[in-house]
Each structure stands twice: as structure tokens, then as C-alpha cells.
């Protein structure tokens, strides 16, 4: 197989970054231009809840503009790891970290890191759709307003652009002033994506974004992820292994706090290196 320049560069970066992952993408998936640089890199990164070590000494690079799925059984630390990236774990008083995790060369847990600025660049969509009890417009405009955009015209543009990106514009363009809680669950979740996109983040963290949705809405979200692939670095935590194999380029498998295997999705699902991974993906335990 012929290698592109971007792939070559990515392979070099990957080789430097000390992880066991190779650049290998399934043939039907396109390579991403300018992608594949380490966007978030964890070094000996551990997360504790009190005495309990929920994530154990993880070393990994998340590659920019690709979709990385995080799978693993319940309580394996996958959500904890995800929420550590934009410091949502700060809300839990007993939670602390050791080791380092860097975002664009900046220590996420550094002493002088402003978590508010950080979260602006690392957006998050949650398990349950959580629009604010405000109008659709105000939901999308909430983030830009926070960051100082108050001009009505600009806000309207941002709202339209974000809703278009989230593939929701056609469904809601006539009722932007209606309360967002009146939307269906799937629409609410896409609204949450749009709300996150309105802040123009670099990374999108999706924490089981479809677990509360029906199959049709799930398909729409998956299409959306496909659309956004290449523009944003996307991390998605999911329980659904088919979903991980469908939407992601890379997959991380966590088991009891350990990052057991991190590889291109196709390789992980067809030819896992680790016995535990194989047992999990073949459904021997869950």
C-alpha cells in the first residue's frame, strides 16, 4: 500500500511518542489532511478518587483530527480519563491526578493552567442530552456570549453555522426561540453538539453520547461524527463496540484502570494483541 506524505509524518510522530500504536487505517476511511499530530499526550498519568486509583499510569497520544474511541467494561476508568482531559473531574472533591497530561504542549493540570480557558478549547458532550432550559438560540449563543460575543448579527451567524455543522439547522430553523427542552432526545443531543461547536473548540469529548438515544437518533449522531472527523480531534467513550468500530480511527481499550491496548480500530478489532482485549471484544465478558 502506498503511503501518503501525511501518513508518513504521522508515522514518524507516532514512532517518537513511545506508544504501541501504528498508523493504520481501514481502506474505506480517508486519511485526514494535517492530522495525526499528538494533540493530547499522557505520561504516567494516573487519576485517583481518594485512595482508589481509577486510571493507572497511562501513556498515550491522542492524534489530532482523528476519531479515537475509548471502550472497556463499566468502571474501567474510561469516562474518568475522558473527563480528566477538560478537568471536569475537578467537580469531584476527592479526585486528584499524578503524572502529566499535556494539551498542545501545555500541562492540563499545571499550576498556572486556567481551566476555564482550557475548557473553551476542549468541548464536551455528555451521556444524557443536557440543554439549558432556555431557547434553542440562547443555548447555542450561551458559549459565544460567555466569551464576549454580544453582537446580535454575529451571534445569529454563529448559531446558524453551528446548527448546520450539527445537522440540526433544517429541523429547528423556524423555531429558534422555542425552549430547547421541547426537542426530541436525539435533537437535544445534536443541539448539545452544536452548542459545543459554537465555542469553536479544538477537541470534542463525547461521553457515551448515544447511550440515552434510540437507534435512529444514534445513527444521526454517528453520521455527525463522521462529518466532523477531520475538523476536530474527537474522543468518544462508548459501550457499543459496533459503534466504536464504525466511527473511530483509533481505539483505546481500558480494563480496570489500565490502558490495555491502543491501536488503529480495525487492527484492534480484527487482530488484538492482548488476550483481555480479545476476550472483551469477542464478548467473553462485558
Amino acid at each position: 500500500m502506498q503511503m501518503t506524505a501525511g501518513e508518513k509524518e504521522a508515522r514518524e510522530v507516532a514512532a517518537k511518542s513511545d506508544t504501541n500504536r501504528e498508523i493504520f487505517l481501514p481502506p474505506e476511511r480517508q486519511r485526514v489532511k494535517d492530522g495525526g499530530k499528538p494533540h493530547v499526550s499522557a505520561k504516567n498519568f494516573s487519576i485517583f478518587y481518594g485512595d482508589f486509583e481509577a486510571v493507572k499510569k497511562v501513556n498515550a497520544d491522542i492524534l489530532s483530527k482523528y476519531v479515537t474511541a475509548i471502550i472497556g467494561p463499566s468502571g474501567c476508568g474510561k469516562s474518568t480519563f475522558l473527563r480528566a482531559i477538560n478537568r471536569m473531574n475537578d467537580l469531584i472533591p476527592s479526585c486528584y491526578t499524578t503524572g502529566t497530561i499535556m494539551f498542545d504542549g501545555e500541562d492540563i493540570y499545571g499550576r498556572f493552567t486556567d481551566e476555564v480557558q482550557l475548557r473553551k478549547k476542549i468541548g464536551m458532550v455528555f451521556q444524557k442530552p443536557n440543554p439549558f432550559p432556555k431557547s434553542i438560540f440562547d443555548n447555542i449563543a450561551y458559549g459565544p456570549r460567555l466569551h464576549g460575543v454580544n453582537d446580535k448579527k454575529t451571534l445569529e451567524e454563529i448559531v446558524e453555522k453551528s446548527l448546520l455543522k450539527a445537522a440540526l439547522w433544517d429541523e429547528v430553523k423556524d423555531r429558534l426561540d422555542r425552549n430547547a427542552l421541547g426537542l426530541s432526545g436525539g435533537q437535544q443531543q445534536r443541539l448539545c453538539v452544536a452548542r459545543t461547536l459554537a465555542v469553536e473548540p479544538e477537541i470534542l469529548l463525547l461521553d457515551e453520547p448515544t447511550s440515552a438515544l434510540d437507534p435512529k437518533a444514534t445513527a444521526k449522531i454517528e453520521d455527525l461524527i463522521e462529518e466532523l472527523r477531520g475538523s476536530y480531534t474527537i474522543l468518544i467513550v462508548t459501550h457499543n463496540m459496533q459503534q466504536a468500530s464504525r466511527v473511530s480511527d483509533y481505539t483505546m481499550f481500558y480494563y480496570e484502570g489500565d490502558l490495555v491496548e491502543y491501536a488503529p480500530t480495525k487492527q484492534l478489532f480484527t487482530n488484538p494483541r492482548d488476550q483481555v482485549t480479545e476476550d472483551y471484544i469477542t464478548g467473553r465478558f462485558s
Binding site: 471536569m88 467537580l91 472533591p93 443536557n130 439549558f132 450561551y142 466569551h147 422555542r178 425552549n179 465555542v199
Partner: protein, 448 residues
């Protein structure tokens, strides 16, 4: 337990529940109905010409021409009474001292009742107190006075084993054969013409000040005082309470200091209100000296301390009830904690916070004990908004108690007492109703 027993248990529980609710409703009716009928009587009653004279002289209300004409009309009938009194007095002049003595006390009583009905009689000194300057303003009081005039009440002690029984003998018997004997049938027949009762809608009961310690006039001073005290209390307690609730829910760390604060708050909620009253006197007036003596300010502060725990608790519950996901969503968009609280959490918690606030407002309006030592006076003038820092005020809650138990003519002014109770209940009910409506409106807006 088999199915039959379970069903019987379920049914009997339902029966007990319904019975207790019905009992409560009945008790409420027993309280509300007399208050309502009595209270309405303060505003809607048969007023005599004396009521119209008083309204004109003291408040400048009414049509002078009509009042003059009615005064002339009634004076024709009243003058006959005065003539009879004159005739009897001349008759008494000629009597033997022993005979005179026989009539003296009865005659004094007759004059007293007539003065009560018509105002000062010819030849009386001009009275100083307003209550003696006018006759009876309410027709039902006039009828009572008439009964007093017509009959002498006596007690029957004949059976020592039983309580004495009251019975009435016609007073005209006492005056048989004198010039005054004709007075009694005349009064009975012509009282209406002497007082001209008319159905009166006395809105001034709400909007006018009281005259001569509530013998006449309205209760505006009390309503306004209640309003000042309750609004003042909320002015202090509401912002403080909400801030404290935000601290407890969002900023306080889970440590011993916080739990001490929390239990202090709970304890404060359980302190009897009279203790707050004493505290207000000791702290705000005697120690801090917010005012020289009782004042609206001191009363408001005391009431504020009293309702603070309720407001904190309600606001805390409301904030905790806001889904955590709203907070997460806001923070994940790069919002600061403070901004999240102000733009997401407080708006979502607003219905609950406002409900707590308005219920506390109702409580502040209704409490008596905290203001006895700090703000309330039994009889006082209507104060202006500028006087709240240094003047005490009458207030509904305290004056209801005062008029019912300590007023020198408590039984004469039952209608005022009922009117005040009705006013207070209406205010509190209106506040609660507005709380419910406001809550429903905001919740609807939030739910979309």
C-alpha cells in the same frame, strides 16, 4: 397477608386519610367563616347619619347638602326626646329628695345611652374624646343601645343551687307616671328616623387612618405598618439568604465548620419567635442602637433574622434540585463558576427560591412576637416612608391581639378586630397565591 386483608387495610387507610382531610377542612371553615362574615361587616354595614357626619368632618368625604338635610330631619325627632328630658328634669326639681334619689341613677343611665346614640345631649359639656362627640355610627350598635335603654337587666338569685340567671324588666316601669314614660315607646318607634340607617360601603376602612383608638375610622396605618415591616424584612433576608444558600451549595467544603454552620441554621429555624423578639430588643435596639427605641428598622431586622433560616433552606433545596448536568454543560463551555451560578443555576432554581421568599414574606407579615418589643405600637399614626428608621408603627398582627384583649372598649369594636383579621388573612393568602402563580409561570417558561 392474604389479598382480602390487604384490600381491607388499603381501604381503611384511604378512609382515615379522607376523614382527616375533611376534619381539617371543617376546622378551616369554622375559623374562616366567622372571620369572613365579621370582617365584611367592617366594610359593609348599615351606617347611621352619625357615620356620615363623622366622615365629612374628619375626612371631608360625603355630600354636605345631604348631610345637612338629614341632620335637620333627624333633629326634628331628636328634639322631641330632648324636650321630654327637659320636662322630666323640671318634674324632678319639684320632687321630694327621697323621690328624686329614686330616679337619679336610672335617669343618669338613660342620658348616657341617649348620648351614646346621638352624641352629646343639649346642656352636656363639649366632650374631648372623639368617641363622645358623635353618636352611634353603626345601626346594629344602635339597636343594642336601644335594648339597653328599654330594659333593665336584673339577676335572679332565688335558687342558691344554681347560677344566677339574668332577666330583663322594661325600664319604662321605673318611670311610670312621669314625663319620661312616653320616651320609651317613642324611642322604639322612631329610632330609625333619628339615625337614618343606610346600607354603607365603607371602603375607607382599608384606606383611612383610625380615629380615637379605632373607635372610628379605618386600619390603613396597620396595613401600611405590616407592609413596611414585611418588605423591610425581605429586603435584608432575601439577598442574604440566597447568598448563604449559594455558599452552602456551591462553595462550602464538606468539613466540620460547614456542618456547624448548617446545624446553626437548622437550630435558628426552630427558635420560638418571642426569643427573636427579645433578641431584637437586646441586640438591635439596646446594643447596636439602630434606633433610639422601637422602630420599623429594628422590627424589620428582627423579622429578617427570624425568616432567614427558612429562606436559606428553601433556596438551598431549590439550588440542589437543579440538575447537575446544567452545571457540567455550562462549565464545559468554558464558563466560570460564578457565571455558571448566575446564568444557569439561579435561573433554574428561581421558582423554588421565590416560593420560599414569598412564604417567608407571609410569615413576616403575620408574626406578632418579634415585633412586640422592637417595632409595634398599639395606637399610632400612619408613618411616612421617611420615618421607618426611627418610628414605631402599628401593625396588623400586633393590633389584632391588642384590640381584642387590651383595648378599653374591646367589645365595642369587634368589627374592627374581625376586619383586621380578614385583612391580614387576605394579605397572606394573596401573597401565597402570587407565589403559586409566579412559580407556575417561571416553571412553564423553563419547561418550554
Amino acid at each position: 397477608m392474604d389479598l382480602g386483608t390487604r384490600k381491607i387495610l388499603d381501604r381503611s387507610f384511604t378512609a382515615v386519610g379522607i376523614t382527616s382531610i375533611l376534619l381539617m377542612a371543617a376546622a378551616l371553615l369554622v375559623v374562616i367563616v366567622p372571620i369572613f362574615t365579621g370582617g365584611i361587616g367592617a366594610i359593609f354595614f348599615k351606617g347611621t347619619v352619625e357615620h356620615r357626619k363623622l366622615q365629612y368632618n374628619e375626612f371631608g368625604k360625603g355630600d354636605l347638602a345631604v348631610i345637612r338635610q338629614q341632620t335637620e330631619e333627624t333633629d326634628i325627632y331628636r328634639n322631641k326626646v330632648y324636650a321630654m328630658l327637659d320636662a322630666f328634669e323640671s318634674e324632678m326639681e319639684l320632687m321630694e329628695p327621697t323621690e328624686k334619689k329614686k330616679y337619679r341613677s336610672q335617669y343618669t343611665k338613660v342620658r348616657k345611652v341617649l348620648a351614646h346614640l346621638f352624641g352629646p345631649l343639649p346642656g352636656d359639656m363639649e366632650p374631648i374624646l372623639l368617641r363622645y362627640q358623635y353618636g352611634t355610627t353603626r345601626w346594629e350598635k344602635a339597636e343594642e343601645a336601644l335594648h339597653d335603654l328599654m330594659f333593665v337587666s336584673k339577676w335572679d338569685y332565688s335558687n342558691p343551687d344554681e347560677m344566677a340567671k339574668q332577666y330583663f324588666v322594661p325600664r319604662s316601669d321605673e318611670f311610670a307616671g312621669t314625663a319620661l314614660a312616653a320616651l320609651f315607646p317613642y324611642m322604639e318607634n322612631s329610632l330609625e328616623k333619628m339615625l337614618l340607617p343606610e346600607m354603607t360601603f365603607y371602603w375607607g376602612f382599608i384606606t383611612e387612618r383610625s380615629l380615637d383608638a379605632h373607635i372610628f375610622g379605618g386600619i390603613w396605618a396597620e396595613i401600611q405598618g405590616t407592609f413596611f415591616l414585611a418588605a423591610g424584612a425581605m429586603l435584608f433576608a432575601f439577598p442574604l439568604g440566597v447568598i448563604a444558600a449559594i455558599y452552602f451549595t456551591e462553595y462550602a467544603k464538606d468539613n466540620i465548620f460547614t456542618s456547624i454552620l448548617r446545624s446553626a441554621n437548622s437550630t435558628l429555624a426552630g427558635v420560638p419567635s418571642i426569643v427573636f423578639g427579645l433578641f431584637g430588643l437586646a441586640f438591635f435596639i439596646n446594643t447596636v442602637k439602630v434606633s433610639e427605641s422601637k422602630s420599623v428598622l429594628a422590627g424589620s431586622l428582627t423579622l429578617a433574622i427570624m425568616v432567614l433560616p427558612t429562606i436559606i433552606r428553601a433556596a438551598e433545596e431549590a439550588i440542589l434540585a437543579v440538575p447537575k448536568t446544567y452545571k457540567e454543560a455550562s462549565l464545559s463551555l468554558g464558563s466560570t463558576k460564578w457565571r455558571t451560578i448566575m446564568t444557569v443555576i439561579l435561573p433554574a432554581a428561581l421558582p423554588g427560591i421565590i416560593t420560599g421568599g414569598i412564604i417567608s414574606l407571609g410569615r413576616a407579615a403575620g408574626e406578632t412576637a418579634p415585633i412586640i418589643f422592637t417595632a409595634a405600637v398599639s395606637v399610632g399614626a400612619t408613618i411616612g416612608i421617611a420615618d421607618v428608621l426611627n418610628s414605631p408603627t402599628p401593625a396588623l398582627s400586633w393590633n389584632i391581639y391588642n384590640l381584642a384583649s387590651e383595648h378599653e372598649a374591646a367589645s365595642e369594636i369587634r368589627h374592627v378586630q374581625y376586619g383586621m383579621v380578614l385583612a391580614l388573612i387576605s394579605i397572606v393568602l394573596l401573597l401565597n397565591l402570587s407565589a403559586i402563580l409566579l412559580r407556575a409561570r417561571i416553571s412553564k417558561k423553563l419547561k418550554g
